[in-house]
């Protein structure tokens, strides 16, 4: 499903922040992306959610060489990917519910069905009573859950989550991770960036480990379903 071959990445004319990255993620697999702060986890994520083109190497996703994809081919590819950003990136002037509805409204669909689905998801992440709240009035953990709900609403083939448990207590982290694993069981390929090694070892899923922009370790537990 995802194949990286000797991928390098740089920001603008800056130094390379990712070097010679090669790995493969099978459809339906569950991986953690680990590594110390500044190792390049978010940068690798940017390549995966097609916000950045690699400076070298090739990236194949959904059977397509995305490094060379035309601009107008990107939206269709991106709609197959759900993203939980490290900084959430909720739209400030939209309510929690409207933020969650956004991917489906972009993809097109009946407003009423979208709304029902979004409400259901908000309940699923435990925020059924905060539908009309603006992101700025939510706690960090609550915003994170809205971000997760927005990432999964379009039933993506690939879910990328950057530190999805960074702002919640361990109990909520556990709940969210189990939600994500639930999704993975239904076929969504999952890649979760974290530097919380406790979470990784407790779930014992396969890992990609980055250090200084170099991939050190691929799949400690092999591919396939986690835990």
């Amino acid at each position: 499903m995802i194949l990286f071959e000797n991928v390098g990445m740089r920001y603008g004319l800056g130094p390379e922040v990712l070097h010679n990255i090669s790995f493969e993620l099978r459809a339906g697999s569950f991986h953690f992306l680990t590594g110390p702060s500044g190792a390049g986890k978010s940068s690798l994520m940017r390549l995966l959610y097609l916000a950045h083109r690699p400076s070298r190497g090739s990236i194949t996703m959904f059977g397509k060489n995305v490094a060379a994809a035309r601009r107008d081919e990107l939206p269709a590819l991106r709609r197959r990917i759900g993203v939980v950003f490290q900084d959430f990136r909720l739209l400030e002037h939209l309510t929690a519910l409207e933020n969650i509805m956004l991917p489906l409204r972009i993809a097109g669909g009946e407003e009423k069905l979208i709304r029902e689905h979004a409400e259901e998801l908000l309940h699923w992440v435990g925020l059924g009573d905060r539908m009309a709240a603006r992101p700025s009035t939510l706690s960090g953990g609550e915003q994170q859950r809205v971000a997760i709900a927005r990432a999964v609403i379009a039933k993506p083939d690939l879910l990328l989550a950057d530190e999805p448990t960074g702002n919640v207590d361990s109990e909520m982290a556990d709940r969210l991770l189990h939600l994500l694993m639930e999704l993975n069981k239904h076929g969504t390929t999952m890649l979760i960036a974290t530097h919380d090694m406790a979470v990784v070892s407790s779930l014992g899923a396969a890992q990609l480990h980055l250090e200084d922009g170099v991939l050190r370790l691929v799949g400690a537990r092999g591919n396939g379903h986690g835990a």
């Binding site: 959610y49 916000a51 083109r53 939206p75 991106r78 993203v83 990136r89 956004l102």
Partner: protein
């Protein structure tokens, strides 16, 4: 699919860059409307003057000898009446001539002793052509002191003036359109910068450039329309006041200055045109800027 508005761009984020836009458009439409109103007024007046004048010839008989003058006038009138293409020949009475002079010399300053030329007013049949130089030459043989004025010199100057005013009006409209485009490009770029993070997020969620452009163009259409209507209202008020002043002054030279329905429609098209220019400029600016993003 891309029809629906997402309302994903907060109005507040680019308020600084768009707050003044309606007023700028208002000024632009105001200037355009004045230019257009002037153009239409000149057009109308010139058409009225020249339309009348083109069918008029004036024969002037100047001689101090009043008996000779009488004789020459009747000879000239007789010749002109016989001329094919002439609809009417009217010998102006002294009183009529004095009436014509009065606005220039002042009422009461004109008396019967003033030596005035005899005037014959000739109206040419609609559509007929009369060659002034040939008529003038023949006229000389029947009335040696007669001279023919076909107003061509005067008409030419009026037409030149009208063309110059038209040229200026068109230049004003063009410059105003270009200035509007420039200002909208500037405002759109500021708006894009203010919304940069949101736009990236929308892209990553799968939005097409066109969806994002629509968010902008709808806003700018509204801003442009608002500004355009304000500008038109200001222009309408100015034109109304100007016409009141002109008619109170009784400056007859400007003619009736009536504006036809078609011309009125042209004025109402201005704010729509301004809004359209604003919207399309925003759209193409956004699409061009987005193409430079990933």
């Amino acid at each position: 699919m891309a029809r629906r508005r997402l309302k994903a761009l907060a109005d507040g984020a680019d308020r600084v860059s768009t707050r003044l836009l309606p007023w700028v458009v208002a000024v632009m439409v105001f200037l355009s409307a004045l230019a257009l109103a002037a153009l239409l007024a000149v057009h109308g007046s010139v058409a009225t003057w020249t339309g009348d004048m083109e069918r008029k010839l004036t024969v002037q008989v100047t001689t101090g000898d009043s008996a000779a003058r009488e004789r020459q006038v009747s000879a000239a009138a007789a010749y002109l009446r016989a001329l094919p293409g002439v609809e009417a020949v009217h010998i102006l009475a002294d009183r009529e001539i004095l009436d014509l002079l009065e606005p220039w010399l002042g009422a009461g300053n004109v008396d019967g002793d003033l030596p005035v030329p005899a005037l014959i007013d000739v109206t040419i049949t609609q559509g007929a052509t009369v060659h002034p130089s040939a008529v003038a030459a023949r006229l000389k043989t029947v009335a040696p002191d007669a001279s023919l004025d076909d107003h061509e010199q005067w008409l030419g100057r009026v037409r030149d003036l009208a063309m110059m005013i038209e040229g200026i009006a068109i230049a004003v409209l063009t410059l105003v359109t270009l200035a509007t485009v420039a200002i909208v490009v500037f405002g759109t770029h500021a708006g894009l910068a203010a919304h940069r993070a949101t736009i990236e997020t929308l892209h990553i969620i799968g939005a097409h450039d066109k969806m994002i452009a629509r968010e902008f163009q709808d806003r700018f259409l509204f801003l442009g329309l608002k500004g355009g209507l304000i500008g038109l209202a200001l222009a309408a008020a100015s034109v109304f006041i100007a016409r009141r002043i002109i008619s109170e002054l009784g400056v007859g030279v400007l003619g009736p200055m009536t504006i036809s329905m078609a011309e009125l429609a042209a004025l109402f098209i201005l704010p729509l045109f301004a809004a359209l220019v604003t919207m399309l400029t925003a759209r193409f600016t956004v699409l061009a800027a987005l193409r430079r993003m990933v």
